[in-house]
């Protein structure tokens, strides 16, 4: 019955946000100030704490009639009642709903207790409203400080006019303007109406604070939604309630790309609570709507039960036949053949001919899933040719066009309400769930419908971090210096493989990288620290192998490789900042003073503008017999205890110390969890691990102590922390395992090599 062709799914690999790629477009065009009248203001402040029954009012149309609201830009609103700051970007657990308004508040010079923070509506005036590539912090730093400082400047001007004094004689602190010589002070709220009459000054006339005067930035601030979180208030996408809400599920072919031949719709429609069921042909775009069967019911449970009873006959002619076990066999041959040369500097062959001290290793990593704890969901209402969405997405503005297409309407007819995301990790950069909700709502017009994926849906139809295979060879000279490096690798087609951006490219004189693509039907895409999350393990583990081959201390080799202080010709990595991280992490971890029976391993990685070194302290148990791994091989079983991970990070100045530390701790936990036991395998085109019983994340008892040190030289702007602390963890732990027991782990997850966490 379907006419669309899904034979190409594997090649429609979505755009992967990598730090060595072009920065996504950020809208910065100036917009007219937006003002609110009193009722509007109260309605918005009522949203604090997550009153999701209210929808955002159309801000642009509202103009203050009485001029009592001071709103020099879209980020700040002050009136006699209070101070409202808008958090522009999606909150996915990376803390930007708190840290971005802190930038505003610092330059505005308000007391944090006086501020209420709300999620901004989706509007071009806010610039690029997305959460990806650890970009929120660096792209907001300038505009948000400007917005805050501009407002402060105008409030000071208003006070100067009121008191008939020069603005230079005034100072601000804690939401007050002060005139020291006359001992007068006035609150921002009292000044709001006057400040609203002041012309917005030019950017050039605005001065930022000296960082030494910061009162808020760098402090520990608890998340602005924490009160709502601990009270269990509605906050997340899945919590969206609307009058008359109905519940939908959507079943796609488990072998991705399959189309619907037939389904027992009549039977399903008769089940209790079921309101509607039907087939969607899909939009022909694997990132939007794949073919499947939707069911709408009067409760989530009724919909889940109906989905269980649903029987679909799939046409699998063009469906996935992906098989991990076959791929493992093929790949070992692929890496023996020459691939596409992506990097080739110096004379690699001559280097290997001239230097006998060599090392070789075959590394591989399985697929993994994003598995954010909130399964994908989206609420949609299609009414009178217009579509309204309530979505937990990382990229609201990128999703609206595809959602409009899925509903067959123009994008101008779509309104999106951004909701908090229960985790992202890159999964919610892609809005297939939103498109499905739009298409289903179109089939049930006039009624709000919440599409809920089960956990099995969430993992089975993820956009995975692809697996890969690397054959590495390297050589060191008489002094143990790394002089030759050859990396042949096979990864999923569409992923460009190791580019010149990955460390240590550009640091070894003779270096060659060859890449071969493996065709894959299931979708693969950006996963926390794309590229770096696996290349970091391979490259930084192999560097340790070379250090060992040269009989040298790994830390020394790492520092030697970084060499003299310089800015590398790629995305901002600075060897001096890198070396400082390596030195600090090793020093704090007791590198030269190792505890009895422990292994120490270090790794450095630069990704998403963050310089981060990590040292892992581990102990490895004795061999306890054998265990059969996922590949059916018998391997020696050993316990691994990661006692402590010491992190030294240079991401410039820290905005929110509590949030920043939380990101690093979380990245370490995620890094360890993923490296030890997480793997997705495929057979006959189907994902084999579809829930947490088979996809086993790390739990509390296995969590190491994490010590975090931030380096801030004062010379750099802040950069993001959602991703860069992830890549160094796996190689640091792998290197520590080698240090502890002499065994080199070369497979992720390392449970494939018999290790289990204690």
């Amino acid at each position: 019955m379907t006419t669309l062709d899904y034979s190409d799914i594997g090649k429609v690999i979505p755009r992967v946000l990598r730090e060595d790629e072009t920065t996504p477009t950020v809208f910065t065009e100036p917009q007219p100030p937006i003002k609110l009248d009193r009722r509007q203001f109260l309605k918005l402040t009522g949203l604090v704490g997550g009153g999701l029954m209210l929808s955002f009012a159309p801000l642009r149309k509202v103009r203050a009639q009485d001029g009592t609201v001071f709103s020099p830009n879209v980020f700040v609103k002050i009136d006699a009642e209070g101070i409202l700051l808008y958090a522009p970007n999606p909150e996915i657990g990376q803390g930007v709903k708190t840290s971005l308004p802190m930038m505003l508040a610092e330059e505005l010079d308000v007391a944090w207790e006086d501020v209420r923070v709300v999620q901004a509506p989706i509007d071009r005036a806010y610039g690029g409203q997305f959460a990806g590539g650890s970009m929120s912090t660096p792209t907001s730093w300038e505009p948000l400080r400007t917005a805050g400082a501009t407002a402060r400047h105008m409030l000071v001007e208003a006070a100067a006019q009121k008191w008939q004094v020069s603005a230079d004689t005034l100072s601000t602190q804690n939401s007050m303007v002060k005139h020291a010589s006359s001992n007068r002070e006035i609150s921002y709220r009292e000044l709001a109406a006057d400040a609203a009459k002041i012309a917005v000054p030019s950017r050039e006339s605005i001065k930022f604070k000296d960082p030494k005067q910061y009162r808020l930035l760098g402090k520990r601030i608890t998340g602005v939604d924490n009160d709502a979180i601990v009270r269990g208030k509605p906050l997340f996408g899945i919590d969206q309630m609307l009058p008359g809400l109905k519940y939908a599920v959507y079943q796609k072919c488990p072998a991705i790309g399959g189309t619907v031949k037939s389904a027992n719709l009549d039977e399903v429609k008769k089940m209790p609570g079921v309101l509607q069921a039907g087939v969607l042909e899909g939009t022909g775009n694997a990132m939007e709507v794949l073919p499947g069967v939707f069911i709408i019911a009067d409760s989530t449970w009724a919909a889940f039960q109906a989905k269980r009873a649903l029987k679909v006959e799939w046409d699998e002619n063009n469906a996935s036949k992906d098989s991990w076990s076959e791929t493992v066999t093929q790949a070992s041959k692929l890496v023996e053949q020459a691939g596409n040369r992506t990097v080739d500097t110096g004379d690699v062959d001559a280097a290997f001919a001239a230097n006998e001290r060599q090392a070789e290793g075959y590394y591989k990593y399985f697929f993994v899933s994003h598995a954010p704890l909130e399964p994908q969901n989206c609420t949609a209402m299609f009414k009178d040719g217009e579509l309204e969405l309530w979505a937990p997405t990382q990229t609201p503005t990128w999703g609206m066009g595809p959602a409009a297409r899925a509903a067959g309407i123009d994008q101008s007819k779509v309104k999106l309400n951004q909701l908090r995301c229960g985790g992202g990790f890159g999964r919610r950069l892609y809005n297939d769930f939103m498109c499905e909700a739009a298409a289903i709502a179109k089939n049930y017009p006039g009624v709000p419908v919440k599409l809920q994926w089960t956990r099995e849906d969430d993992i089975s139809y993820d956009l995975f971090r692809g697996g890969g295979f690397h054959k590495l060879r390297g050589c060191v000279d008489e002094q143990g210096k790394v002089v030759g490096w050859h990396n042949r690798h096979a990864t999923i087609t569409g992923d460009q493989g190791i580019g010149s951006g990955q460390f240590p490219m550009g640091m070894v004189d003779n270096l060659r990288v060859e890449h071969t693509g493996i065709d894959w039907k299931h979708r693969c895409a950006a996963w926390r620290a794309p590229g770096s999350n696996v290349f970091g393990f391979v490259l930084m583990s192999f560097l340790h192998e070379l250090a060992h081959a040269g009989g040298r201390d790994h830390r020394d080799v790492l520092l030697e490789l970084l060499g003299e202080e310089r800015l590398m010709n790629r995305g901002g990595m600075h060897t001096g900042r890198a070396a400082a991280c390596v030195k600090l992490a090793t020093e704090k971890a007791g590198w030269t003073n190792k505890k009895e029976g422990r292994g120490l391993g270090v790794a450095f990685y630069y990704s998403h503008a963050g310089h981060i070194a990590e040292v892992a302290e581990v102990s490895v148990g004795d061999v306890e017999g054998t265990v059969t791994n996922r590949q059916g091989k018998s391997v020696q079983k050993r316990s691994l205890k990661v006692h402590k991970v010491t992190v030294a990070a240079d991401v410039g100045p820290i905005i929110n110390l509590s949030g920043a530390e939380n990101q690093v701790q979380g990245s370490v936990v995620d890094g360890l969890s993923t490296m030890v036991d997480l793997a997705i395998t495929f057979e006959n085109g189907r994902v084999q691990e579809t829930n947490f019983d088979k996809y086993r994340m790390l739990r509390m008892g296995e969590t190491p102590e994490v010590e975090v040190h931030f380096i801030n030289t004062g010379e750099h702007s802040p950069t993001g922390l959602g991703e860069p602390a992830f890549p160094p963890l796996a190689p640091a732990v792998g290197n520590a395992i080698f240090d502890a027991c002499g065994y080199r782990v070369r497979t992720l997850p390392i449970s494939e090599e018999g290790f289990y966490l204690v």
């Binding site: 657990g93 998340g223 601990v230 309630m241 704890l373 909130e374 829930n691 994490v706």
Partner: protein, 153 residues
């Protein structure tokens, strides 16, 4: 069929008795603080108290509640009241990243502290072993449990 949730009795006439408590709370009683993560008792996001015991509500049929009292995250402190020491500890330690797992972790802690007001690290690890935090906030959860224990005593 009637159930008592957060000291309010609800009439559930017409609801399939095999419906898991999780979905009755979320879809029928509008108590969405209790979260859905896996549906198979693996992640703990759906944890509520039945009397003093922490249970995974995603696999707990509503018919099994009987005349016991259900307490959800919304039942710890009502909107008007101050936060309980347990909730306040969570805010003070700034535990949450995405926050999605936290209601479950808090409810499991409530059950733990009712039974064991002074838990060791090992006690906490055991009590919370059934709870996944995809964001990796385990260190802070454990710290918050200890802060809460101190404030409650």
């Amino acid at each position: 069929m009637k159930v008592s949730v957060n000291n309010t009795t609800h009439d559930l006439t017409g609801i399939d008795p095999s419906t898991p408590l999780l979905w009755v709370l979320r879809d029928h009683l509008n108590l969405v603080g209790t979260k859905f993560g896996c549906g198979i008792s693996q992640c703990g996001a759906c944890t509520v108290l039945i009397d003093d015991t922490a249970v995974k509500s995603c696999i707990y049929p509503i018919s099994a509640v009987g005349d016991k009292d259900v307490t959800t995250i919304e039942g710890l402190a009502s909107d008007e009241e101050e936060l309980t020491p347990l909730q306040q500890a969570w805010v003070d330690v700034d535990v949450a990243q995405c926050g999605y797992c936290q209601a479950g972790q808090i409810m499991a802690t409530e059950a733990l502290l009712r039974e064991n007001p002074n838990p060791t690290d090992a006690d906490i690890n055991t009590a919370l072993a059934g709870h996944l935090c995809r964001c990796g906030t385990y260190l802070r959860v454990r710290e918050a449990v200890k802060v809460a224990a101190k404030h409650r005593s």
